[in-house]
Amino acid sequence: MPELPPALSGFWVTFRTQFQKVNTEQYPEQKDKFPPKPRFHGRHQLNRWADGLEKCVGCELCAWACPADAIYVQGADNSEAQRFSPGERYGRVYQINYLRCIFCGLCIEACPTRALTMTHEYELADNGREKVIFEKQDLLAPLREGMVPPPHAMVAGMDSHDYYMGKVTGATEQQREEVQHEEAQREEARRQDQGAAQ
């Protein structure tokens, strides 16, 4: 091919590209067609044990590891009346600031209980600072089959070691009843409050 003058050679590139395979992924139209890779670092998740108790022990190691100072944790004491995790301690306040997070995953490596992992969710942009500071309830894993929401007791006869050893496989009837009973009592209290208010 004869040498084109420089001004035209640019047009030639454009013309030639029109007939090549398109690489652009259309977002959001095509997002389901292109799922993130398996080890993609997306939004964090706070996992649960098989009976619904939280894995996070509020140790703050994730916050300590974080190079961007994106995590804020406050631990607290599990009591007999209010148990959120097996063992003594749970994370009472848990926040991740997604304006700071750089998705490095160091927090995941630091977590001693595998409470913290990362999901594939990446649509985290929003139009206000407070909306991108995720609280514990935004980060907690959804309740799956066989889980009941804490606070509730550990599986009868098990202790925190048994949870770590994977001996707990789901909520027991007793735990279910406890949660239902608590819920009924709260409902009753609400009704009474409303009655009193009226």
């Binding site: 140790c59 300590w64 406050q74 631990g75 301690r89 001693p112």
Partner: protein
């Protein structure tokens, strides 16, 4: 100050001690004979691992973490217990395979039963075991069997939790309890791998229990209060001074965001060494409890929020109208700078000498004593106290009223057999731990006991360096202060005055007493007035010339004003001018004052009341203007401890938006169109320093003689009482775990007195006056007959408000 001569003494002493030279890791080091190897190694920059060897406890070599090799000795030696000898050649882990292996072996043993608790352990992040596991430990465990487990944690008191799995048996806690505090409740039990810290039958209710948490090298001892609250890297640490008592402890305040998380003792060898008491450590939640958020002014009988300019305008107008007829009550909790600002504001802006820093029982002798013996002076010091061969305590219970003084005395008793003599109604728990000799005294008649002091006690005090300590309670015993001062003159002993509150000494030094100007200057001395007037930029004639009224006199004057107004109104006459037209009150708690009902009535009756407070109180309830002020974490300042030593501290929260008292007073002075007083702490300090102490005469006029010893009839007794360290003081509010370690409230009488009213040991005794009755279980105590002791301000026993009595008063006893 006497500390200089002290330094010389120590230097001389140092020159005389024998020195030895040894070789550690190839470096020669010369240390005083008796220095253990671990400390000598520190001097060469070599850090040997250790768990059981904090510097202030006797060596025990319990943990074996510090093993090192000494040439010529067959086995590795514990470096914390073996003294460096002359010519000794030592190899630490840095140069000796044997030492390194021994240390790693000990580490492995220690970790065999140690739980994998770091993520849930409060020590995590500042744990010597974690650190040494990283430096000296094996990365992999060889131990595959079941670890020893215990139920955890267990409460050894409401505040202190013990997790036996984490304990490394270093015995720091048991040795602290035994050697320092003298409350040995926790002990090692069992042996070998099953060894553990056991608890006795009784809870570990020591006033110093928090120190065991701080010195525990692992997370075995933790506090209920700080449990799971924060990690060390969350915390910003600020060195501060404790605001609770006159011991003057150096503390470290750790805060996260805008809340104090914990407080710890800070190392200050001259004052608190490495310790503090549980009140200073745990009683800080009050700092953020129901704080006043803005000024309040009274409108139609109700307080309503107001802006600062409005509130300041009203306060300034009211105070300005009362110029010359106002009074200032400052309580005993202010910093030195704030106290000074009140002293200056009273004399200049209010043109009055009616100022009193005491919110407690006071006596006629006291102001003279403080002005002539205490104000602007320095010493005796802790060092003198520790070195004293004998110490006489007069109306002073160190363990309850100034705990670090107690620790220093106990150390001296243990180390060189110091003899402590106490003039008190009975040998208290603290006196017993000091092996103190009791000179029995009927409360209020301490002067008689001092006059009739046994000859051998006088001989003790004649030894050079002896000390006499009088407590603030001595003021209520007529003649006792004079007797103590005379005794000090006769025997040559140093005389020290120990108030209870952190702010009292600073207020004395800065002139918050009637008749006393800053630096111990007598108001009645024209030269002293001139010095102060020139520093304040006022004419000397403008300062008051005669001593003003103290708190009881102010209260009485307001009552008299009311009576005069009433009788004038009845006669239809024009009312004469009031003596007191306005009151300016800082942090005063009415119930601290005997006859608090009279004070409350005065607060209600005074025509104009301005209150500078941090939280709503009985004073703000009656105030016309309430101006909120800063708490200690929000301001810088200085507390002056009982020695007269300045204990400056910085602001903890850098962004604090509240005003300290001194700044509010400066604003008020602005509104009064007065020459501006200094408003920030450096300027106030500079002014206090430039005034300095008074060099002239310090008269102590008016000798109040001792009164007769009261003679209670049948069914009556003389009241003895003091405040316990942990009681229902408002600065301990909001800390239920600390409150749980309070001593149980009991009434104490002798067996004969109890038998006289027919109350057997343990039954409830009722103690009454015309105003009320306190009923408490009785504890038969070895003490003179005809005396009953009650805790002054415990939840079940509030002597000032229920009985409205002061120690020395006669009360009625009965069976409940």
């Amino acid at each position: 100050m006497t500390a200089t001569s002290n330094d010389k003494d120590t230097a001389q002493a140092a020159a005389e001690v024998e020195m030895v030279t040894g070789v550690i890791d190839g470096h020669e080091v010369t240390v005083p004979k008796g220095t253990v190897i671990i400390r000598a190694a520190e001097l060469t920059g070599v850090d040997i691992p250790r768990f059981c060897a904090p510097p202030l406890l006797d060596p025990v070599a319990a943990c074996r973490a510090c093993l090192i090799e000494v040439e010529g000795m067959p086995k590795p030696q514990p470096s914390c217990a073996v003294e460096l000898g002359d010519g000794m050649v030592v190899h630490t882990q840095l140069t000796s395979e044997v030492a390194a292996k021994a240390q790693a072996g000990v580490m492995e043993f220690l970790l065999i039963n140690h739980p994998l608790d770091c993520p849930v352990c409060d020590k995590g992040g500042e744990c010597p075991l974690q650190n040494q596991a990283m430096t000296t430990g094996n990365p992999e465990t060889r131990y595959t069997l079941q670890k020893l487990t215990f139920p955890k944690p267990i409460n050894i008191s409401t505040e202190i939790l013990l997790d036996r799995e984490r304990c490394v048996m270093c015995q720091r806690c048991t040795r602290f309890a035994d050697e320092i505090a003298g409350d040995p409740f926790i002990e090692l039990v069992q042996r070998g791998a099953h060894q553990q810290i056991g608890i006795g039958e009784e809870p570990f209710d020591s006033y110093f229990s928090g120190n065991t948490i701080q010195i525990c090298p692992v997370g075995a001892l933790t506090s209920a209060d700080y449990r799971f609250r924060a990690r060390p890297f969350d915390l910003v640490s600020v060195p501060t001074t404790c605001e609770h008592c006159a011991s003057g402890c150096s503390l470290r305040t750790d805060y996260r965001h805008d809340a104090v998380m914990r407080r710890q003792a800070w190392d200050d060898p001259e004052v608190n060494e490495e310790w503090n008491c549980d009140k200073g450590r745990f009683a800080f939640p009050y700092l953020s409890l129901d704080r006043l958020s803005g000024p309040l002014v009274r409108e139609d009988g109700e307080l309503r929020p107001a802006s600062w300019p409005e509130a300041l305008r009203l306060a300034a107008d009211g105070l300005g109208r009362a110029r010359g007829r106002a009074a200032v009550l400052t309580g005993g909790r202010l910093t030195m700078e704030d106290a000074y600002a009140y002293a200056r504001f009273a004399r200049t802006a209010l043109a009055t000498d009616n100022i009193d820093m005491r919110a407690r029982a006071i006596g006629p002798d006291e102001a003279g004593f403080l002005a002539s013996q205490v104000a602007g002076t320095c010493g005796p010091t802790y060092a003198q106290l520790a070195a004293a061969p004998a110490v006489l305590l007069v109306a002073f219970e160190p363990e309850e009223e100034s705990p670090i003084v107690f620790l220093r005395l106990r150390k001296a008793v243990r180390q060189h057999g110091q003899q402590v003599v106490t003039v008190a109604p009975y040998p208290s728990h603290g006196s017993t731990k000091l092996s103190a000799t009791l000179v029995p005294a009927v409360p209020g008649a301490e002067a008689h006991s001092l006059a009739a002091l046994p000859a051998d006690v006088r001989d003790l005090l004649q030894q050079p360096g002896s000390v006499i300590l009088v407590g603030e309670r001595a003021a209520t015993a007529p003649g006792a202060l004079r007797a103590a001062a005379d005794l000090a003159d006769q025997t040559g002993a140093h005389l020290g005055w120990i108030p209870r509150r952190a702010g009292e000494r600073g207020a004395v030094d800065t002139g918050c007493l009637p008749g006393l100007l800053p630096g111990g200057r007598p108001l009645t001395d024209p030269a002293a007035r001139r010095e102060v007037a020139s520093a304040w930029g006022v004419a000397a004639d403008d300062l008051p010339t005669s001593a003003g009224l103290d708190l009881p006199a102010v209260v009485a004057a307001i009552a008299a004003d009311v009576a005069t107004r009433r009788s004038a109104a009845e006669q239809g006459d024009e009312a004469p001018a009031n003596t007191i037209d306005a009151l300016l009150v800082a942090g005063v708690e009415a119930s601290d004052v005997p006859h608090s009902d009279a004070l409350l009535r005065a607060l209600q009756d005074v025509p104009f009341l301005v209150s500078l407070e941090t939280r709503p109180s009985e004073v703000t309830d009656f105030a016309d203007v309430v101006l909120p002020v800063s708490v200690v974490t929000e301001k810088e300042g200085t507390f002056v401890d009982w020695e007269g030593r300045r204990r400056p501290f910085a602001r903890s929260f850098p962004l604090a938006t509240t005003f300290p008292d001194a700044e509010v007073l400066a604003l008020l002075a602005d509104y009064l169109d007065l020459d501006a007083a200094p408003r920030d702490v450096p300027a106030l300090r500079a002014e206090i320093d430039s005034l300095g102490a008074w060099g002239g005469e310090r008269p102590w006029p008016g000798a109040a003689g001792a009164t007769d010893t009261p003679n209670p009839g049948p069914g009556e007794a003389v009241l003895a009482s003091w405040r316990l360290l942990l009681d229902r003081g408002i600065m301990q509010e909001g800390e239920p775990y600390l409150a749980g370690t309070r001593q149980p409230s009991v009434a104490r009488v002798s067996a004969a007195t109890a038998a006289g009213v027919g109350v057997p040991d343990g039954e409830r005794l009722s103690v009454s006056t015309d105003h009320g009755t306190i009923a408490l279980p009785v504890e038969i105590t070895e003490m003179p007959d005809g005396i009953v002791w009650l805790p002054m301000n415990s939840p079940e026993s509030r002597v000032t408000t229920t009985l409205r009595a002061t120690p020395g008063d006669t009360v009625r006893l009965g069976r409940e």
